[in-house]
């Protein structure tokens, strides 16, 4: 009973704050409405007894949204809080598509004859997850890690405004590199 109430409250908060993301006209409020939505889903995962994944969701999303807020402020060309204006295109089509998607997904959720539960959760779900990651599901970690590294490299290559030729000169022999800021370790 208490679990049901908690779930409905969290679900409501998650959906309502997700809607707010596209309704409010403040970049900070939009970002942190999304953060609230993620926190609500993370706590809902706690209700579904996945403590590690739930807490990690809260951790990662708070961090991500703190950084995202910076990008929001940086890249929103106009400030909708100062200059109220429509920032959407194809609003009616988008509403139609998303409503149709909801109807289809909801119908699927309610009408599909879901199978009965198979097996029971391990006594220590987190330890079981760790052993799965480092044992039978090792391949997942092995794949995710290089993807992450590739992402870091891609992100830096795409986003960096200065190349190594800007830093080290045409023959790549300038030392120390010509950076606009000093680094922290004596360069």
């Amino acid at each position: 009973m208490l679990l049901d109430v908690a779930f409905w409250v969290l679900g409501l908060v998650a959906v309502a704050s997700a809607v707010l993301v596209f309704v409010v006209d403040s970049m900070a409020r939009a970002t942190y409405a999304l953060a609230l939505s993620f926190v609500a889903v993370g706590l809902a995962l706690l209700l579904l007894e996945q403590s590690y994944v739930g807490v990690v969701t809260v951790l990662m999303m708070l961090m991500e949204m703190a950084v995202m807020g910076v990008y929001m402020v940086m890249y929103m060309g106009m400030n909708p809080a100062l200059m109220p204006m429509s920032m959407v295109h194809d609003n009616r089509a988008a509403l139609g598509v998303s409503a149709a998607t909801f109807v289809v997904l909801a119908a699927g959720a309610l009408l599909v004859p879901w199978p009965v539960r198979r097996g029971v959760p391990a006594p220590d779900v987190t330890a079981a997850l760790g052993e799965a990651l480092m044992g039978r599901q090792m391949l997942v970690m092995v794949v995710v890690s290089p993807v992450m590294v590739a992402t870091i490299v891609t992100g830096v290559v795409l986003a960096a405004g200065r190349t190594r030729y800007d830093r080290f000169g045409d023959d790549l022999d300038a030392s120390p590199p010509r950076d606009p800021h000093r680094g922290g370790v004596g360069r």
């Binding site: 959906v15 007894e49 799965a132 795409l158």
Partner: protein, 100 residues
Amino acid sequence: MTLQTVLLVAAALFAVGLYGAISQQVVVMVMMGLEVMVNAVLLAAGAMWWFLAPDPAGQVLLLVVLAAMTVEMAAGFAVATLVHRHRGSDMTDSATDLAG
């Protein structure tokens, strides 16, 4: 709290995210929409795990979803930075080079 109700909430989240991803003009707001959609996937996967097959392998899927979300964020912001740097623009409508 049954599988159906959790999936309903996830469906609502997904629809809201889809609306955002389609309708918003600014790149960062489109990414917010994508994030809401991944959020819904996370919730739905968590519900499936708990109500259908609570074995450890299912949780690995949730971690993969989380990892996919970070990759999407990092790559998306890198591209947004690139577009902003080269065109002084933050709108999806001005980055249509690959449109047929």
